[in-house]
Amino acid sequence: MTAIEKRLLVNKIVLGLSSLSALIGIGFLFWILYVLVANGIDAINWNIFVFEGAPPGYEESGLRQALIGQLILVGVATAVGVPLGILAGTYLSEYGQKSKLAEIIRDISDIMMSAPSIVIGSFVYAIIVLPMGHFSGWAGVVALAIIMIPIILRTTDDMLQLVPSTLREAAFALGAPKYKVIMQVVYRGAKAGVLTGVLLGIARVGGETAPLLFTSFNDNFLNYDLSEPMASLTVTMFNYATSPYEDWQKMGWAAAFILSMFILGLNILGRLILLKKKGR
């Protein structure tokens, strides 16, 4: 075999291997999606939306408390986390810019973004659950908000920086004060990007389970009071899936299906908004 033949052979083998690994990777991932859809469609019925959790064996058992609890937890966490994240991101992009402080905050929030969420859960347990003496929806909200803030902060920072400085200068030249320039020019210019960041942040937080295990805990009944333990789709899913009862496991799949569709939907929506903006 000549040197060239050998190189061509090695080339073929490597290219074959990496195409194969792409197939393996995608194969696994589609397997998971298939399992989700097949089990999910099978398990979803009207009862799930109208009934609350019941002991195994009961026909009239559902996920209403978890669906509503999830919406409340994620909704309130978003209401807390988004404004704080946007404010901090505004500081980095518009005031701090390349200053030392701003760079440190960027680095730290990058690290926070990848910090294990279960550690955030134990932190919130220590500062809220222990002093209050019991699990509560508020503790879950705080844990989710802490996870969300760095994501919103970093995307806001990136997206505001993309707004051309000529726009700012033009507004300044008209005599506008800085806060007005930021509110009416910069925010408007970066609207689509920031919205995408918010959607991705909600999607990320919506799938969190670990930090809720010992903050908002769980509840089998519908509850609107954040100072009490509160059910969430993810924790309910965890409990049901690890239970030995077949009908509970089935409800776990229903919860898994609803949650993944919600999260994939948010991700796709976020991407579409960015695409549309780029296309313009």
Binding site: L29, W31, I32, Y91, G207
Partner: protein, 286 residues
């Protein structure tokens, strides 16, 4: 009046930004404070002892720490070659028509919550491992594979992005010299993207260390170190997830907080290394 609002707004943004910094410091402080009882009781032995017996008030974190290290190592062992293969496929081999749909589906799958990977693992993957390797099917090996699948999409996407930054002109010059595709990948693309690739691997490592739900389903939570990777085991996140709501004594709690502190430090160091050492250069590029 406008001046006042202007000042207020500027200070509000600065206040919130600095609060994020303080929050991180607060997290470390609180975890440390709550660990002091365990630290006082066991000292450095906590890290080296593997006996975890809540009923005897004896807590040693070694089994959990080792479990975290081993499961993460296994995950990287399985995931790195496949992820780099996927990245090479996406950035160099795939025809233009495939690139975007395959790339987007991989990125979307990275968004699926880890609790779902865990559930799939428990119901569909554990039986396979049980049939092939015997035993319960629950344990280190299963956890390593599930973790690998979980971090694969993320790793592949970031590695692909790093590879895509290679200037076309470098690749074209190599092709013009008669290089095969593999020559170009090996001698041009990988060296050019090296820092970014290593950074993405370390970042994935950081995720694997702290990943909780995907492994909680399939690990078994047994505080024992076994040479058999098909035997049930535990890791720091698995211990926290399973035992936090069960802990009944102060010392038990304190030991769990010490584990959380160790996990936080581990992931902080890993992520900081990836970010500051390898990804600094590529960060502004995207």
């Amino acid at each position: 009046m406008t001046l006042l609002i202007d000042k207020l707004f500027a200070n509000a943004t600065r206040f919130v930004a600095v609060a994020i910094l303080l929050l991180v410091a607060w997290i470390f402080t609180v975890l440390f404070q709550h660990s002091t009882e365990a630290i006082a009781a066991f000292g450095f032995d906590f890290i080296l002892q593997d006996k975890w017996a809540p009923n005897l008030e004896k807590f040693g974190g070694f089994a959990a720490i080792a479990g975290s290290v081993i499961s993460t190592f296994l995950a990287m062992l399985f995931a790195v070659p496949v992820a780099i293969g996927v990245a090479i496929f996406l950035s160099e081999i795939a025809p233009a028509k495939l690139k975007s749909p395959v790339g987007v589906s991989i990125e979307l799958l990275a968004a699926i919550p880890s609790v779902i990977y865990g559930m799939w693992g428990l119901f569909y993957f554990v039986p396979i491992i049980r049939d092939v390797f015997g035993g319960l099917g629950i344990g280190m090996l299963t956890a390593g594979i599930i973790l690998a699948i979980m971090i694969l999409p993320f790793m592949a996407a970031v590695t692909r992005d790093a590879m895509n930054t290679t200037p076309d002109i470098l690749k074209e010059s190599a092709y013009a010299l008669g290089a095969t595709k593999w020559d170009v990948i090996k001698d041009v693309v990988i060296p050019y993207a090296k820092a970014g690739i290593i950074g993405s691997l370390i970042l994935a490592l950081g995720r694997a260390v702290g990943e909780t739900m995907a492994v909680t389903f399939v690990m078994g939570n047994v505080h024992k170190i076994s040479l058999d990777i098909t035997a049930p085991a535990t890791s720091i996140p698995v211990t926290l997830a399973n035992e936090f709501t069960e802990a009944d004594t102060d010392l038990y709690f304190s030991s769990l907080f010490e584990l959380a502190l160790i996990l936080m430090v581990m992931s902080f160091v890993i992520i900081a290394l990836a970010k500051f050492y390898f990804l600094r250069r590529t960060r502004k590029v995207k």
